[in-house]
């Protein structure tokens, strides 16, 4: 299977200033999050992948297509939702989406049908005949999402999709993005300042800082690894309980107030921990999977690159 994004020594200059400094990395997951502080180069990377900026060195490929030499073919696969306002104010919502779908190559009747479907799907069915200029900020975000998905792209690029949305609207949008991801084999590239948005929708994260890659982290593997790390609060803890767990191949550390940390090997399931506890008469009052939040990963990456750069 082709990697979703491949970067090879990608260097991009804007106005004589180098914005991306030799980015190299391969991202294979279907849902990729793009993280970084302001000015890290996230939007520049997206614009380079869309062929708007030409790299001075190296290359950027999406689904095997070079953004510089195969730009048109690549853009035929993409649905793009930009960060800022991008609409035609006087057009009705559904006409605007139909217009964009036709430019992507859909025949007029198909474009009209897909525009209606996309509008109803994002939850703007009642407002589809209103001019886009009269929409609220959240509705404009949804209209942008509708135009990005109407033509059925293979890659969906979302730049700060939840900007300006209230919590319920944000939740609905995140659910939509997850639904889109799960309903088809679409690839997702989501750039956001909100780590939670990325955490809830993405499998892999590319963290940028000062135009350099601070970290590439596979969240699926992280989650899988963290599933094997348990924090227990027990009553009536006995040395035999931890000894029995260790006999199963677990590593245990006992703390005060009956707190135990357990690292389980892949072969051990959680039900076996419960069974051992039941056999030894130990009550498990609380059980947590350790979870390195994306925030930890992000801050860690920022600190590491900050240290490498000599600044935090």
């Amino acid at each position: 299977m082709l990697p979703t994004i491949e970067l090879e020594g990608l260097e991009v200059q804007l106005g004589g200033r180098t914005i991306l400094h030799g980015l190299t990395g391969v991202l294979k997951s279907r849902a990729i999050g793009l993280l970084g502080p302001n000015g890290a180069g996230k939007s520049t990377l997206i614009n380079t992948l869309l062929g708007f900026h030409k790299p001075i060195k190296g290359s950027a490929r999406m689904l095997g297509l070079d953004a510089n030499t195969n730009g048109k073919a690549l853009r035929a696969l993409v649905g793009y939702m930009p960060e800022n306002d991008a609409f035609i104010a006087k057009m009705s919502g559904v006409r605007f989406v139909r217009y964009m779908a036709e430019i992507s190559g859909l025949p007029p009747d198909q474009a009209m049908e897909r525009a209606h479907e996309a509008f109803v799907y994002v939850g703007l069915g009642e407002a589809r005949y209103r001019p886009v200029g009269t929409y609220s900020l959240g509705m404009k975000q949804l209209a942008k999402l509708a135009q990005a998905i109407a033509h059925g792209p293979k890659v969906l690029i979302l730049d700060e999709p939840t900007n300006g949305m209230d919590p319920p609207a944000r939740k609905r949008l995140i659910e939509l993005i997850r639904e889109i991801r799960e309903a088809s084999d679409i690839c997702l590239l989501l750039s956001s300042h909100l780590l939670r948005d990325v955490e809830e929708t993405c499998d892999e994260v590319l963290i940028l800082r000062n135009g350099k890659i601070a970290s590439i982290c596979n969240l699926v593997e992280e989650r899988r690894a963290n599933r094997k790390f348990l924090e227990l609060e027990t009553v009536g803890v006995e040395a035999t309980f931890t000894a029995a767990l260790e006999a199963l191949g677990c590593e245990c550390a006992i703390f005060s107030n009956g707190r135990i940390k357990v690292v389980m090997p892949d072969t051990v399931e959680i039900r076996e921990v419960f069974k051992v506890a039941a056999d030894r008469g130990v009550q498990i009052r609380r059980m947590n999977h350790r979870r390195d939040s994306l925030e930890d990963i992000f801050l860690n990456a920022m600190e590491q690159t900050g240290a490498a750069d000599g600044r935090i």
């Binding site: 869309l50 853009r75 793009y80 930009p82 430019i103 799907y121």
Partner: protein, 294 residues
């Protein structure tokens, strides 16, 4: 009302040919234009002069009507090159006015709210975009310039006898070329102004200024330097030179073709340079606005 499924479906149907997609812009622009009653009225008014020209040709070639109207054929201007120069002069002025109304809003609407990035993030280039918008003005201005002019030529050919058509067939090429350069120059100028100026009234003013101010500066230059090359800045005059010399206007050929006349190649070069200049500034503007900046 149709009931649509609330789930995402990938698109698996057919696609239109990539080369034809620029025409989507043209089609949508025309649909928007024809929603305006003022535009429809303007278009009808732009076509009206051609009805008078057609009537004139009909009467000029019809002895019965001339007798009924008690007029002598000699009182009429013969339908020759001079008459077609008048037709084209009227038509190109009408095209200028129509262009001033339509052109200024074609691109500014897309740039105002950053929609350009949505066009260009698809398999659609800047050239496709410009071509789509250019086609709107080219089709519209053609409909009031060379198309009716050739129809009038055809009417005259049909009504006149004695092999008029064969002796005047050469006129088709200058009619087409002169109209083409005028339409192209006006269209590109409008698009360039539309890309830089948001308000229609201001953009219309800028188009007028582009014709008037350089012409005035050129006249000042001529007066101060004692030359006639300042006329190169007068675009209407350049077009007149190209048109009258192209259609072999006897008055210009005999009386005015002298030392104080801008050569025809120079007039053509000026108009082509104006087109190229408009293309360059249009491209610069679109390139600057193709990505959304926060």
């Amino acid at each position: 009302m149709a009931v649509y499924k609330r789930r995402y479906n990938p698109y698996t149907g057919s696609l239109t040919a990539a080369w034809s997609r620029f025409f989507v812009l043209t089609r949508f622009a025309f649909l928007d234009l024809f929603k305006s009653r003022f535009f429809v009225l303007l278009l009808i008014l732009a076509i009206v002069p051609n009805l008078f020209f057609a009537g004139y040709i009909f009467v000029a070639n019809n002895k019965t009507v001339q007798l009924l109207m008690q007029i002598r054929s000699a009182d009429f201007l013969a339908v020759e090159t001079q008459y077609f120069i008048i037709i084209m002069t009227v038509q190109t002025n009408v095209a200028f006015l129509l262009n001033c109304w339509v052109g200024p809003v074609l691109i500014s609407g897309d740039l105002t709210n950053g929609a350009l990035s949505l066009f260009l993030s698809r398999p659609f280039s800047r050239a496709d975009y410009v071509l789509g918008k250019l086609a709107v003005l080219s089709i519209l201005l053609s409909a009031v310039t060379w198309v009716p002019c050739l129809l009038l030529f055809g009417l005259q050919s049909g009504l006149a006898r004695n092999g008029w058509v064969w002796s005047h067939l050469w006129m088709i090429l200058p009619i087409l070329l002169c109209s083409a350069i005028w339409v192209l120059m006006l269209s590109l100028m409008s698009l360039a102004v539309s890309a830089w100026v948001k308000l229609r009234i201001v953009a219309t003013g800028v188009i007028f200024i582009a014709f008037v101010i350089p012409a005035a500066l050129g006249e000042m230059f001529n007066a101060i330097m004692g030359t006639y090359w300042g006329a190169l800045l007068n675009l209407s005059y350049m077009f007149r030179i190209v048109l009258e010399r192209g259609l072999r206007d006897p008055f210009r050929l005999l009386a005015h073709m002298g030392r104080h006349e801008i050569p025809v190649p120079a007039a053509w070069a000026v108009m082509i340079l104006v087109c190229l200049f408009c293309l360059v500034i249009l491209n610069a503007r679109l390139r600057a606005r193709e990505t959304v900046r926060g």
